[in-house]
Structure formats: structure tokens, C-alpha cells
């Protein structure tokens, strides 16, 4: 499903990201685990095509991302990935319903006539059927992350990437959000790549990839 081979990327003077090998099979729920600044997010950016490697190959769902043009890469990202961010990253001018619609509109994986029923369905499944018309700033942090989960899954992606999705939540909300995320990814048969520095969160996923040795810095 996701395969990285000898990937390198220069991040700064003498600072290099190096990932000799990474594999995630279809439907797996994998934690990309390691301390802050170890290169977890860079790995996620490379996998999703938000960042290009200076060297190496990245293959996602059988497609080599490295030769793709910017436009093809944008389209590929929209079709194959769903994103969940630590700070939710909902678009403030839009309602919860519109935020989910926008995800589908940009990814364009479903026919337009299915967008509205699918958005309502996803928001109902995350328990926000009654908050469709609420703007992000009127939602609690837990509700915002649930909207983000609904948005990430609404366009039927093959892979959901979640970058510290519980990093801004209190423990109780964090646990509830993780339950929801894991359950929905399983129901939708979606591969989940979840970046976290918390061991207990990483422990809840089927597989773990240790990212602690991805950044190479010159010895002081």
C-alpha cells in the first residue's frame, strides 16, 4: 500500500532526513512513533506528497509519487488520502457541514450528488448530526476533531494520515476521539498512519514504526 525506498531529504545545513525503508500494508493501523522533532511529520509529508524526496522512491497504492507533476500530485493526494491534524485545521469561515463538503469537493472522488448525504452521514456517525450548521469557533475542541475525522473519511480515502490527532485534547476527550477514529477506519477499511509521540496512543494501534532514527545531524 505505502512503500518508501532509500528516501532522503535535506532539511537544513547538515540536517538530513533518511528513511531506508518503510512499508505499510492495506488496511493496517500503524503508529509512526517517536519523540518530538524525530522526523515523524516529515515522513508523513513525504508519504502524502506534500514534500518531495531529494532521493529515493515513494510508492502509494502502486503509484510512484516521485515523477508526478504538482497538479497530478494534488489530485492523487485528494483521491487517496484523508488528513487529520493536531490543531484540527478546520476552515473557520465554513460550517461543520461545509468543511466536510469541501474535503469531498477538492478530492472529487465521489459524484457531486452524493456529497451532501455523505457529509451528513459522516457527521452523524461522529455524533455531530445536530451541529451541521455550526462554525468551528462555536464547537468544543473535541467536536472540532470529530468534524476533522468526518472530513478525512468522507471522500472514501484509501489512507488516513493523522498527525498527533489527540495532541490538543484532554485525556478523556483524547481517548474518545481515538476510539472513534480507530472504529471508523476499521469500518471503512482504511489504512491509518498515525503520528504520535505518546506511547499509550501508539500502543493502541496494530503496528508501530519507530521514527527515532530518521533525522541525521552532524555530531556536535
Amino acid at each position: 500500500m505505502v512503500h518508501l525506498e532509500q528516501c532522503k531529504r535535506v532539511l537544513g545545513p547538515g540536517v538530513t532526513f533518511e528513511c531506508p525503508s518503510f512499508n505499510a500494508s492495506a488496511g493496517v493501523q500503524m503508529a509512526l512513533w517517536g519523540p518530538s522533532g524525530c522526523g515523524k511529520s516529515t515522513l508523513l509529508n513525504l508519504i502524502t506528497g506534500l514534500m518531495r524526496p531529494d532521493h529515493g522512491r515513494i510508492v502509494v497504492n502502486g503509484t510512484d509519487l516521485t515523477p508526478l507533476s504538482e497538479g497530478r500530485l494534488d489530485r492523487f493526494r485528494g483521491e487517496h488520502f484523508g488528513f487529520i491534524f493536531q490543531t484540527f485545521n478546520l476552515l473557520a469561515p465554513f460550517t461543520a457541514f461545509q468543511n466536510v463538503l469541501l474535503g469531498m469537493r477538492f478530492s472529487d472522488t465521489l459524484p457531486a450528488k452524493q456529497w451532501q448525504p455523505r457529509a451528513k452521514d459522516m457527521l452523524t456517525r461522529v455524533g455531530l448530526g445536530h451541529r451541521l450548521q455550526s462554525k468551528p469557533n462555536s464547537l468544543s475542541v473535541g467536536e472540532r476533531q470529530r468534524v476533522a475525522i468526518a472530513r478525512a473519511l468522507a471522500n472514501n480515502p484509501k489512507i488516513v494520515v493523522a498527525d498527533e490527532p489527540t495532541g490538543s485534547l484532554d485525556p478523556k476527550t483524547s481517548s474518545a476521539v481515538m476510539d472513534l477514529l480507530l472504529e471508523l477506519c476499521q469500518e471503512e477499511s482504511v489504512t491509518l498512519l498515525l503520528v504520535t509521540h505518546e506511547q499509550d496512543i501508539a500502543g493502541r494501534l496494530q503496528e508501530r514504526f519507530d521514527c527515532s532514527d530518521l533525522i541525521k545531524e552532524p555530531a556536535a
Partner: protein, 442 residues
């Protein structure tokens, strides 16, 4: 959800900034619209009026002054000419109609115009079927007897004169306090007719027989009126033509004391408009008078003098639009800086760079189009308000809130283009965004 909707939501999310930017565009467009509408509409009305008559003949002086005073009842006359000149003109083979005009008095600021009955009859016949005939009786009849008057619609409304009312004229064209005014108390007019509104200067005028004007001025002259009591006889205008004074045409010496055997001017309709230039030359060579072609004088006035004013005002309008375009640019640029994360999220969700650019350009276009729309309303509102004043002052009706003139379409297209161009830099900024960095940094 369309790109237009996305762009609109972002504009709506910063209502105040968007509103201010729209207002600044609207001010520029409003100024352009008002200037173009007023210029075009007044020119059209003046030219329509000017087209009624092929030639106006009066005392030598400024042809524009002669035209404005005799056709539009706006300026002071250039002096008087001999009645025999009118007869010569009337009997000329190239002349279809010639109407004598005698000016000199006013009532409550409205000109009292002495003329012949043929003026109404012929003009009515000539313009039958036109949208706006120059004369049409609303009530009563035209003058037939001594000291009878027909009042224009606006003059009737502003003075309150109606059928059967009487009034006395004041000598000269300036409104003066009653104590200083020279009133023709011995010769009260009786209103016998009120005209329909026509949107022409006739609305402001009060018409009577030319003979009444002669009678009033002759009798008062013979009764020892020296026109020197208590008012400035020069009226600050209209110095007499020396040749006219020598011919005894202006015994009182103020240019407005119309006595028998004189007229202020003659309005001429030729057998064919093609004869205008030739006939003007004939008059200038054969009569002790001056001929002017009203429509040409008005065109000259607009092209030479008002055209320059229009150009200056339009430049100010375009300058405001340029400033507005810069404010669109700054507004969008700042908005892009604030929205770097949103744009990065959209890219992460699958939006392509061209889609993001399109959305930003649409934002610029929406602001500009709304500014143009608001400016059109604003400009027409200004034209409407000025129009009310023009009706009140000159009886000149102008149309506002109509289809924009072709020059305005060009101006609006230029403004829209300026707005779009203003969106290019912010759009380019968004296009070049580093999505991974923007998602990480913000």
C-alpha cells in the same frame, strides 16, 4: 460547493474589510458614473432642444450667449435687433418658420418671453407624434388678447400661478428685493393657459404676445420711466451693441428695454437643415445681426469647455479606482498572509494550485463587481439629485438609473480589469506557497 461560493465565504468572513474595499471601488465608479451620466444626459437634452431650431439670430456678440439666452432662456441676451430684420427673415425663401422672441422681464425669476402665436401652433405641428412635444396645454388656452400669459409647467408649480391669476413682471433678469425691483405695476398679466411639463426650458418660461412686451416698455418709456430708480440698470450684464444703440434700437441703453420695432432674437426653422451654414453666412453678411446654429454652439460648449471639465473629473474617478485597486491588492495580500494555513489545508485536501489561484482571483472580481454595482447606484443617485436641481433651476430633465452609456461600459470593464490585476499578486503568492511548511509553521 463552487469556487465562487468558497471565495464569497472568505469575503463574508471579513465583512468590514470587504465592505470598505467595495466602498472605495464604489466611490471611484460612482464619480465616473455620475460624470458620464450628467455629461451625456445634459448634452443630449441640450442638443435635443438645439435641434428644434436651425438658426438663432440676434444682436452681435457671443453666439453661445445668444443661443443660451434665446433657446434655453439661461443667459442674458446679447441685445436687440430690428423688427424689420425679423420680417426679412420670415419672408426669406429658405425659411420655413421664423419666430420673434422678446425678452426683458421676469416674474419670480422666470423669464417672460414675448413671441407670436405661430410659435405654439407651428412648433406643435412640427413635433406632432414626438415623445416630448415642446408645447402642450395642460389647461386653458394660448394667449389671444392683450396682456394674457401662458405659463410653463415648472413656472406654474414654483410660482403657484393658475388660470385667472394675475401677476406683474419685473424689469431685467436678476431677482431683486421688491423695494429695488422695477415692477411693471401698470401692466398686470392674466394667466390664460398652463403648459404640460415637457422637460425643456419652456417649462420655466412664461409666454405672452410680443406686442405686450413692446406695449409695457413703450408706454413706460413715454410715461417718463427712466429705469433709474432704485435698481442697477446695467443688471451686470448685456452691454448694448454700439451699432444697435446708434440705430436707436435700445434707447434705454441697457440692452433689455425692448421697444416697438425691436426683437431680442429670431428663432428660425429652415426649409432644410442642410441650409444652416449657408444661411448663417447670408445673415452675417446682409443684416446688422449675428446668426448662430444652436446645436453647434452647444456641441462646441461641451467639446471645448465642459469636455475638459469632464476629462478632469473622469481622471479623478480613475485615480480613485487605481487607489481602490491598490486597496484590493493590499486587502487580499494581507488576507492571503492570514490564510496561509487555510490555503495549505485546502491543498492538503486535494485542491490544486490553479484552483486556489482561481478562488483568490474570484474574490478580487467579486469585490470589484460589487464595487462597480454599488458605484453605479451611487453615481446614478448623485445624477438623480443633481437632476432635481437641474429641473428646478433650468427645467432640464435628465434620466438617471438608465442603461449605462457605452463609455461607462468601457470604464466598468477597465475597473473590473484593474480589480482582477490587483488579485494577481496575492494569487501568485498563494500559488507559490510551500504547503508542508505552511502546515507545520502556523
Amino acid at each position: 460547493m463552487t469556487t465562487w461560493r468558497i471565495a464569497w465565504q472568505y469575503l463574508w468572513s471579513r465583512k468590514l474589510t470587504t465592505g470598505m474595499t467595495i466602498l472605495s471601488v464604489a466611490l471611484g465608479v460612482g464619480l465616473i458614473t455620475a460624470v458620464l451620466t450628467l455629461y451625456d444626459e445634459t448634452r443630449k437634452r441640450f442638443e435635443e432642444e438645439g435641434q428644434f431650431f436651425d438658426i438663432v439670430v440676434g444682436a452681435k456678440g457671443s453666439p453661445l450667449q445668444l443661443t443660451l439666452s434665446s433657446v434655453y432662456f439661461m443667459d442674458t441676451p446679447t441685445g436687440n435687433i430690428l423688427y424689420s430684420d425679423y420680417e426679412l427673415l420670415r419672408d426669406h425663401e429658405d425659411v420655413a418658420h421664423a419666430f420673434p422672441i422678446g425678452l426683458g422681464d421676469t416674474y419670480a425669476g422666470h423669464r417672460i418671453v414675448g413671441t407670436s402665436r405661430e410659435f405654439f401652433d407651428a412648433m406643435g405641428d412640427l413635433h406632432t407624434g414626438q415623445a416630448r412635444p415642446p408645447f402642450e396645454l395642460a389647461e386653458g388656452r394660448y394667449f389671444e388678447n392683450e396682456l394674457e400669459a401662458v405659463v410653463g409647467a415648472l413656472a406654474a408649480r414654483q410660482t403657484g400661478l393658475g388660470i385667472g391669476d394675475t401677476f406683474v413682471g419685473t424689469h431685467g433678469f436678476m431677482e431683486m428685493p421688491r423695494d429695488f425691483a422695477h415692477l411693471h405695476d401698470d401692466h398686470p398679466y392674466t394667466v390664460v393657459g398652463v403648459l404640460e411639463p415637457t422637460g425643456t426650458p419652456n417649462d420655466r418660461a412664461i409666454f405672452c404676445a410680443l406686442e405686450d412686451i413692446w406695449r409695457i416698455h413703450d408706454e413706460e418709456s413715454h410715461n417718463g420711466h427712466d429705469h433709474g430708480h432704485g435698481h442697477d440698470h446695467s443688471h451686470g450684464h448685456g452691454a448694448p451693441n454700439p451699432e444697435e444703440a446708434a440705430a436707436g434700437a435700445d434707447p434705454a441703453g441697457d440692452g433689455f428695454d425692448l421697444t416697438a420695432e425691436q426683437v431680442t432674437s429670431v428663432l428660425v426653422i429652415l426649409e432644410s437643415p442642410a441650409l444652416r451654414f449657408q444661411f448663417r453666412q447670408w445673415i452675417n453678411e446682409n443684416l446688422n445681426a449675428m446668426a448662430a446654429i444652436p446645436v453647434n454652439e452647444i456641441r462646441d460648449l461641451y467639446d471645448r469647455f465642459l469636455g475638459t471639465a469632464q476629462a478632469v473629473l473622469l481622471r479623478v474617478g480613475y485615480l480613485v479606482v487605481v487607489v481602490s485597486a491598490i486597496s484590493i491588492l493590499i486587502g487580499l495580500y494581507l488576507s492571503i498572509l492570514q490564510r496561509r494555513r487555510d490555503l495549505a489545508i485546502m491543498r492538503a485536501l486535494g485542491a490544486s494550485a490553479p484552483e486556489i489561484v482561481g478562488s483568490i482571483l474570484i474574490e478580487a472580481l467579486i469585490v470589484t463587481l460589487l464595487g462597480i454595482g454599488a458605484g453605479w447606484v451611487l453615481g446614478n443617485a448623485v445624477a438623480w439629485i443633481v437632476g432635481l436641481q437641474l429641473v428646478h433651476q433650468y427645467g432640464l430633465y435628465i434620466e438617471s438609473f438608465g442603461a449605462p452609456v457605452s463609455e461607462a461600459f468601457t470604464a466598468y470593464a477597465l475597473v473590473a480589469l484593474a480589480g482582477l490585476v490587483a488579485g494577481i499578486l496575492p494569487a501568485y503568492q498563494a500559488y507559490r506557497a510551500d504547503v508542508a511548511r505552511d502546515l507545520a509553521e502556523l
